[in-house]
């Protein structure tokens, strides 16, 4: 490819980066500014004195640190369980014939299409009947359960692209379905699992309504609830909210970078596929 095109591609990507980042730059600058009950004018923003006060205040306020750790726990556990259950279900849909398969799959799809906003009340009664109100188990169960349909939909496509012939080597070695699932499907679909992992993690990390409904004790609350508490009934200090939001974004970006390296390395099936 000629140098000209390379430059064009880089230029396009960099312009895109600017468009994506400008709002965040505005957010970042505001987070360094005090007295931000209304958002400052762009000119003022550059001139105003900068300080880390908002970050310090946010970190100390509303039990932010505790909620932060709670969120780390909830999001991590949700991701692990969701990946495990969804990949099993997706494997079933991708590689087995069973009665009502397509009907069930359509049903899964349909559930994704009806908005879930009103589901919160029946879901809550279920959690309540299981005696899991105000427990992380209840919250995790709900997060994982709600995600399965969509995740299965996502993973099935990837699983179906893995050549069936690869299973033969395992069968010859006398391995069963579990071995195939563990040694063929899981490792070969790392990129898609990593992608799904990020979606699930950031979804759980951001979720507000369900967490607030299920968790009653203040000490158990998660980060999005704390973020909401920074917004007052009558006035909101945006510098503070943005500082808190930035603190909340950082872990996801880190996780994203880590996961991303995983799936960059594992470009699937170079040699394996040919077999």
């Amino acid at each position: 490819m000629s140098l000209f095109w390379k430059v064009v591609v880089y230029l396009l990507l960099i312009i895109g980066v600017f468009i994506v980042l400008t709002p965040f730059l505005y957010m970042l600058l505001t987070s360094f500014t005090q007295d931000t009950f209304s958002l400052p004018h762009p000119d003022e923003l550059l001139k105003a004195a900068k300080s880390f006060d908002n970050y310090i205040e946010a970190w100390r306020k509303n039990d932010f640190q505790r909620y932060f750790l709670n969120s780390v726990f909830v999001a991590t556990t949700t991701t692990v369980f969701a990946l495990f259950f969804s990949s099993m279900t997706a494997y079933a849909f991708a590689r087995f014939q069973f009665p009502l398969k397509e009907f069930l799959f359509r049903l899964f799809l349909f559930t994704m299409m009806v908005p879930g906003v009103l589901n919160i009340i029946p879901q809550f009664t279920v959690i309540k009947s299981l005696g899991l109100v105000d427990t992380y188990s209840g919250l995790l169960l709900l997060y994982v359960g709600v995600g399965i349909a969509g995740n299965t939909f996502f993973l099935r496509g990837f699983f179906e692209r893995i050549p069936k012939e690869l299973e033969e080597s395992v069968i010859i070695d006398g391995g069963g379905k579990w071995t195939i699932y563990r040694h063929i499907y899981l490792p070969l679909s790392k990129p898609s699992l990593a992608t799904l992992g990020i979606f699930t993690f950031s979804g759980a990390w951001d979720e507000f309504f369900i967490a607030l409904t299920i968790l009653k004790t203040e000490a158990k609350r998660t980060l999005p609830i704390a973020l909401q508490l920074f917004q007052g009934q009558h006035a909101t200090k945006w510098g503070l909210v943005f500082a808190a939001s930035i603190i909340a974004i950082v872990p996801i970006i880190l996780i994203f970078i880590i996961f991303q390296k995983k799936f960059v390395q594992s470009t699937t099936g170079e040699g394996a596929v040919k077999g």
Partner: protein, 431 residues
């Protein structure tokens, strides 16, 4: 064979679902048992007085209010009533109604909650709240409180809550601009304010900052200009909302806006009222939180005063929060004790330091409360302030009013047509 398997699997699925729904109905039984268990446990506890009973309380206090509530009011209560422990939980304002609904529907609501006065009738109608008239000592409590805020708890012949704190909005003037306009003190009448606003207009500043076309933002002006929403019993809007006086009042707002005397905030424009009052707006209106949140900065920059008078007098809008008890409360006796306590003079005086105006008459007139630097004009304004229509359908009424006012101010409809349309709609909601 295939068919048989299919039937088997379908029936399994049905069984699965059945278990779920059975689980639910079963759960209802167990929760009932829980309640009775807890009751008997509670009885036992009364015999062995060492274990305090915990009641849950939801609120949306701000940072400063929460600190004072937790550090001064709660210890005071627990000192007086060592057998009752209050677990106060601060809820985010976002999605709060959803939380209440899920809580009550799922039998996981707190015992008590501090909620916006305008919510009480609709939750009462829904059957979520306990009526308090029959509670021990209700009459005494009632007599200590201001009748206006108390009335916001009244629905269908019963009281469903007690007013915890009240507020209203007053006019807030930028001191510099007042001087610039040649006034030594806030204008007493709207004519005066309009006069100076015209002079300010040439300097690119606005005289009147109205927060929005919604009822909370615009009703004080509508009322002050002589408008009315319903009759005194809140049963009818036709003949009131679209009376000649009301039409004239809305027309006046529209005209002032067309003349460029009202700040762009009325249609959601920028700068917002809090920003605009710094240099661009002569007057805005807001509640006591304007001062409690901004502190000295606001006191130095602005001066609060009752709204200037016009045809309708000086009429602002009543806000505030009521304390309600949910029907699902596990400890109604203890919860009632706490409710009564919060209505007394001492806790009310303490909370007044944060700008929450007491509903207890004695507390409101105490020196301690009156010495809060910005509070006097608010207490003054409360004497004439009016409530928004206390009705379970308020949310719908609010939407109607907002739409009518917005249409008129945007010039999409004449004030008369807009109000006629709204009056008809509101009539339907009031039935």
């Amino acid at each position: 064979m295939k068919k048989i398997i299919r039937i088997v699997l379908i029936s399994m699925l049905i069984v699965c679902l059945g278990i779920v729904s059975f689980g639910c109905s079963n759960a209802k039984d167990t929760t009932n048992q829980d309640v009775t268990n807890e009751k008997t446990e509670a009885d036992k506890k009364e015999e062995t007085p060492k274990d305090p009973i915990t009641i849950e309380f939801w609120h949306t206090y701000s940072d400063t209010e929460e600190v004072i509530f937790n550090e001064q009011v709660l210890p005071l209560f627990e000192e007086k009533y060592p057998l009752i422990k209050v677990e106060a939980t601060r809820m985010p304002y976002e999605g709060l109604k959803q939380q209440v609904i899920a809580g009550v529907a799922g039998d996981a609501a707190p015992d008590l909650m501090r909620m916006d006065i305008i919510w009480v009738p609709e939750f009462a109608k829904l059957g979520a709240l306990t009526s308090l008239d029959g509670k021990e000592g209700f009459g005494d409590v009632k007599n200590q409180l201001f009748p206006g805020p108390l009335a916001t708890n009244f629905y269908n012949g019963n009281y469903y809550g007690l007013p915890l704190n009240t507020n209203t909005k007053v006019a807030i003037y930028n001191k510099e601009l007042l001087k610039e306009a040649g006034l030594s003190e806030p204008p007493k009448t709207f004519d005066q304010l309009i006069e100076v606003s015209k002079a300010l207009k040439s300097k690119g500043k606005f005289g009147i900052g109205i927060g929005g076309t919604g009822p909370w933002g615009s009703l004080p002006y509508f009322w002050t200009f002589g408008g009315r929403v319903t009759d005194d019993q809140f049963t009818k809007a036709s003949g009131y909302l679209n009376s000649p006086e009301s039409i004239a009042a809305l027309e006046k707002i529209v005209e002032l806006n067309n003349e460029g005397l009202i700040a762009p905030t009325i249609l959601g424009g920028e700068p917002g009222t809090w920003d605009g009052i710094k240099e661009n707006y002569l007057m805005i209106d807001d509640g006591p939180w304007f001062y409690s949140i901004l502190g000295d900065e606001a006191l130095n920059l602005t001066t609060p005063a009752p709204l200037p008078t016009d045809d309708g007098g000086s009429v602002s809008v009543v806000g505030g929060e009521d304390l309600v008890m949910f029907k699902t409360s596990k400890h109604p006796e203890e919860a009632w004790t706490f409710m009564k306590f919060l209505m007394t003079e001492e806790p009310q005086t303490i909370m007044a330091q944060t700008g929450l105006i007491p509903t207890n008459q004695k507390a409101a007139s105490s020196d301690e409360v009156l010495s809060v630097p910005f509070i006097k004009p608010y207490i003054e304004q409360l004497k004439t302030a009016q409530p928004r229509t206390p009705h379970p359908n308020w949310e719908k009424i609010q939407e109607s009013l907002n739409l009518a006012f917005e249409k008129a101010v945007r010039g999409e409809m004449s004030a008369e047509d807009a109000l006629n349309e709204a009056a008809q709609e509101v009539d339907g909601f009031l039935e």
